[in-house]
Amino acid sequence: MASLIGSYSLYFGLCCSFFIILFSVQNLKNYHALDVKVVSISFLQLFFVIISFLGLIISFVVSDFSNETVFNHSHSSKPIFYKISGTWGNHEGSLLLWLLVLTLFISLFLLKSKNQPKQYRILTLLFQQVIIIGFFIFLIKTSNPFNYIFPIPTEGLGLNPILQDPALAIHPPILYLGYVGSSIIFSSALAAMSLDYVSKEWAKHIKQWVLVSWIFLTLGILLGSIWAYYELGWGGFWFWDPVENVSLMPWLALTTLLHCVLVLEKRLILTSWVVILSIATFTLSMCGTFLVRSGILNSVHTFANDPERGMFILFFLFSLIFLSLFIFFFFHKTKSKITNSLFWLSKESSILINNLFMMYFLSVVLIGTTYPIFLEVVSSEKISVGPPFYNKLLIPFLIPFLIVMAIGPKLKWIKSNLEEKTYLFVFLIISFLLSVFIIKKFNMNYLMNTILITSAFYLFFITLRDFFIKRSKNLSQNLSHFGFSLLILSILFNNIFSTEIITNLKIGETHKSKNIKIKFESVDKKKEANYNAIIGKFNIYHYDDAVEFLRPELRVYNQPNIVTSEADIKTDLFMDKFITMNLVQNQDYFNIRYQVKPFMIWIWLSVVLISCGGLISLLKKKYED
């Protein structure tokens, strides 16, 4: 029943689109104010999509296995929480969520843009409707979440156990708010271009939307990363997996855009650049969807490999790119010349320099992600690109990037000088000495490390100083930059000081190494509704007589029948102690991995700080208005 309502709501929602287009085109010519009809139908559309989404959730909750999506991805013994999160834990449901966010954002836009010109609002709505219609058709035609199966199965196939996790339950909605939120930036950039409205007012208005997407995207990536850290059992937080890369690329573009919009707002330069970035961000999000959904790339997120879906997104993606290029070349007028109005030492030039670095980072990630695909098409060689590639190409360029990031905010707009800024040099020397000290103390004599730590410390100290000097003048920027320096430092120290022990143990055995003893005491058994677990009891004896008790789990899920290992992690301010165990088929040995990962918590906290900076900026804007 819920399925049926959901299914019809989808069609009604699609019909709304056509009415919206019809009325807005009339409205564009005839009236002075925005037609109430257009706004109300937009809300009606949102209503239908919400109903449809609720319909799917209800089908999942009551385990209605006559629905194909529910049958494929749910099971009656699953806890209610994962029944709900299972709604977007699959291809069809996640696309419906995508559609929900698309319609939600345009409705919010209509509410929030009342002081903007009428024509601009209508055009934004129209461009957004083009995207919405595309996704409606995609959803209904290739991946309808409400397909009916007959005869009705008595039990479902179940949700992949590694997706049955609290972090991953909220990861998709948060990520999508960022990912799909960029659609509104895309639509409004196209609208502003068509009307020649790319101005300071527009920059001020669009900045909020950029901030919203950026905050959610940052948090979404963070959640995914935390999940990968404890659930996949490898103890890393970033694997340079194609799917991680496709979320990083829009983030890089969006961050660049965020900074450029500031320049546009203050100086009315870089208009074309802002527009291009707005288009690029959403295009990259779409590209990500295409790469992940078409099954070209393989990873955790590849739900189903269906060439038809890939073709559709590819076709849709190209139409959108073509449309935006068309508008860009025929409607866009540049208002200024960069070379005329840029002084080399100013805030805007430092932003521009870091823009170039960001674009470089973006192209490295883009090439690293797509190169294997091209090579396979061209020469049928199968390859993969691993972390060494990214480390080698990204790390050296982080150094100037961090330094410009520290100095840039200290400069004035238009024209600046370095007088009365001797502290900038003093801090550089302090950071350098500090990092040399650390490197020497721990015998990590790498030149690259020293310089990188220096530059990260530099940013760290400069931003830290600002918290005390000019309190709330630009708190948001300072907080985000501070967070970023903290992130880089934590990652560096995490990489340098991580240690691990991998061994195979039988129950009762002890592994001894230089300053640590791992004793495998015993195993316990536990029975839950949807899985049986074996819990290992490990005692870790440190050389200073400290003892730790860790309890990793092996879970055997009943539907689908999959074994997962749950890491046990002891977190404190300075380090995580991380243990996983695996059982090898028909053997008595357990495969044990014990890791000490310093500063893990700071990696997560610093990303939270970065997004808090964005949040403060957003709230401040509201407060001032």
Binding site: I162, G233, S384, F389, K392, N504, V563, T564, V584, N586
Partner: protein, 139 residues
């Protein structure tokens, strides 16, 4: 002759071009050094020379071939045409089982012997790496 602005703009464009070419060159160069090729056991048998580079191999874990010791794990990877012996020390993913697909990363010792440094995790029992699937379909 030319105005200052024209010169400046020319300089600017030149700078961007040079940076662009440099970075593309850099990226392609390190791609060449850092990509990992995927080979099936059959492809390894027909290799003309054994390189020192890191590669990935994939196929099925042969039935009753897993041999487990305190330190290392030995097993045989097969694509039902040819086989290769693998030795491995390290973390073993949960879905590593006899008769299931596997992808291992490491170095070739010779055409019959592979020293793995990593066994790649899979996330789903029905999931088969496309490389393995293709290699199996070729037989």
């Amino acid at each position: 002759m030319y105005g200052r602005k024209v010169k400046l703009r020319f300089f600017f464009i030149l700078l961007i071009l040079v940076t662009l070419i440099l970075s593309v060159f850099l990226i392609l160069k390190s791609l060449e050094e850092n990509v990992i090729y995927f080979k099936s056991p059959t492809e390894i048998k027909t290799l003309s020379e054994i390189e020192k580079k890191k590669i990935r191999i994939g196929g099925m874990v042969k039935n009753s071939s897993i041999f487990f010791e305190k330190k290392e794990l030995k097993f045989i990877v097969t694509d039902f045409k040819n086989e290769i012996n693998v030795v491995y020390t390290g973390v073993i993913p949960n879905l590593f089982e006899e008769g299931k697909g596997v992808v291992a990363e490491g170095y070739l010792k010779d055409r019959d012997f592979f020293i793995a440094t990593k066994i790649l995790a899979k996330h789903d029992e029905n999931y088969m790496p496309p490389e393995v699937k293709a290699a199996l379909e070729e037989k």
